[in-house]
Amino acid sequence: MNLTATLFLQLIVFLILGGFTMKYVWPPIVKALDERAKKIADGLAAADKAKSDLALADRKAVEELRAAREKAGEIRANAERQASEKIDDARAEAAHIIAQAREAAQAEAGVAAQRAREALRDQVALLAVAGAEKILRREINQKVHTDLLANLKQELQ
């Protein structure tokens, strides 16, 4: 247990070594440590973000799928509705055309019947007149009988 001037030299060495470490050793190591800590923190944050992004994307995909399915169903329903509408329209038009044709045919038939009837009436009248003429050839007053025949003709209408 002796004290010597070694003490002062040791003191100086002590401070110099501390100073060296402060200048050349501590800062780079602490910097590297801080940087690595930051890197790790960033990495963890990125991983978290990726995870939440993935969950979000999943949810979005499911939603889109559902929307697409809904839309497809809607389109199919629309198409079916349109098709049935078209069929109904066509059916209605066909019925309409048939009805029109039938009407026209009936009208034509009616007119023809009328005409035939009138022709027949004329001929019957002429026949009746001719008959009556033959019967009543001997009758003196043809004038009186003309009125009579006109009345008969009227009645036949």
Binding site: N2, T4, T6, F8, L17, G18, T21
Partner: protein
């Protein structure tokens, strides 16, 4: 040792004294307890050499330090740095002061650990090599710098100077003077001398115990190693020598293993006290 000293057959006392004598500038054993004209070359050589080794190793790690995946060496140094940085953060609350004090604490820890670890080398290895190199069988050499009170007190006085520096820096010269006279008992003028005396005693006690603690542990450890070596050395001249040799092996192994704990613990304690004392310089009473 047995072969080296068998010719001269030194007594146990002579052996111990020889081993506890420094290689100094006088070439002789120091006569007075305090002699400022003496410089211990061996202490200086080993402490400086180990100090340079310390900062070189730390610098090696620092030079290649990247934020990428660290190697084992870099990882080890980083663990040390983080340990010291955490301790410093808990004790010294000024980031500005930590910029010097934390690296200092790291250096002190590693450096003192290396100096203490010199104790684990066989006690006669380096001195014998030195004696053969100088062709002087009486050449002195001590290889554990921390077993030299001058070295440990040198460092603890370094810590004291830093305490004074930070006291003045943080509190101002007037503020520190005020604290010296008014703490711990109070501001009453009658208490000023008592306060001042207490403060001086506190600083002295802190510094001396700081240096003495390390010195005492290492000195005692060294002494025990020498006694164990003596026991083994007695093998050659004793009839029951084989038992002594076995005792040497057992005791040497046990003490060396236990000493691993001590050298690490003492290095850590010195570092922590360095931080604590400098931290106290930052606190207002």
């Amino acid at each position: 040792m047995a072969t080296e000293h068998a010719a001269q057959a030194p007594s146990a006392g002579e052996y111990i004294v020889h081993h506890l004598t420094h290689l100094n500038n006088t070439g002789e054993r120091q006569a007075n307890v305090v002699d400022w004209s003496i410089v211990n070359y061996d202490t200086l050589f080993y402490s400086l050499g180990l100090g340079i080794l310390t900062v070189f190793l730390l610098w090696l790690a620092a030079r290649k330090a990247t934020s990428g995946v660290p190697g084992r060496f870099q990882g080890g140094v980083e663990m040390l740095v983080e340990m010291v940085a955490d301790q410093a953060k808990g004790i010294i609350h000024s980031a500005e002061s930590r910029r010097f004090v934390a690296p200092l604490a790291l250096t002190v820890f590693v450096w003192i650990f290396f100096m203490n670890a010199m104790d684990l080398l066989p006690v006669d290895l380096l001195p014998t090599l030195w004696q053969q190199a100088t062709h002087n069988p009486h050449a002195y050499m001590r290889v554990v710098p921390t077993a030299d009170l001058s070295a440990t007190l040198g460092m603890s006085i370094g810590v004291l100077l830093l305490c004074v520096y930070y006291n003045i820096k943080i509190k101002g010269a007037a503020g520190w003077a005020h604290e010296l006279f008014t703490a711990p008992f109070g501001a009453h003028p009658a208490l000023w001398p008592v306060n001042f005396l207490m403060q001086i005693i506190e600083f002295l006690a802190k510094t001396i115990s700081h240096g003495m603690r390390l010195f005492g542990n290492m000195y005692a450890g060294e002494l025990v190693f020498m006694l164990i070596a003596l026991m083994g050395g007695a093998w050659a001249v004793s009839t029951s020598g084989v038992l002594l040799a076995i005792g040497h092996v057992l005791a040497g192994t046990a003490w060396a293993i236990f000493h691993i704990l001590i050298i690490l613990l003492q290095a850590f304690i010195f570092m922590m006290l360095t931080l604590v004392y400098i931290g106290q310089a930052h606190e207002e009473h």
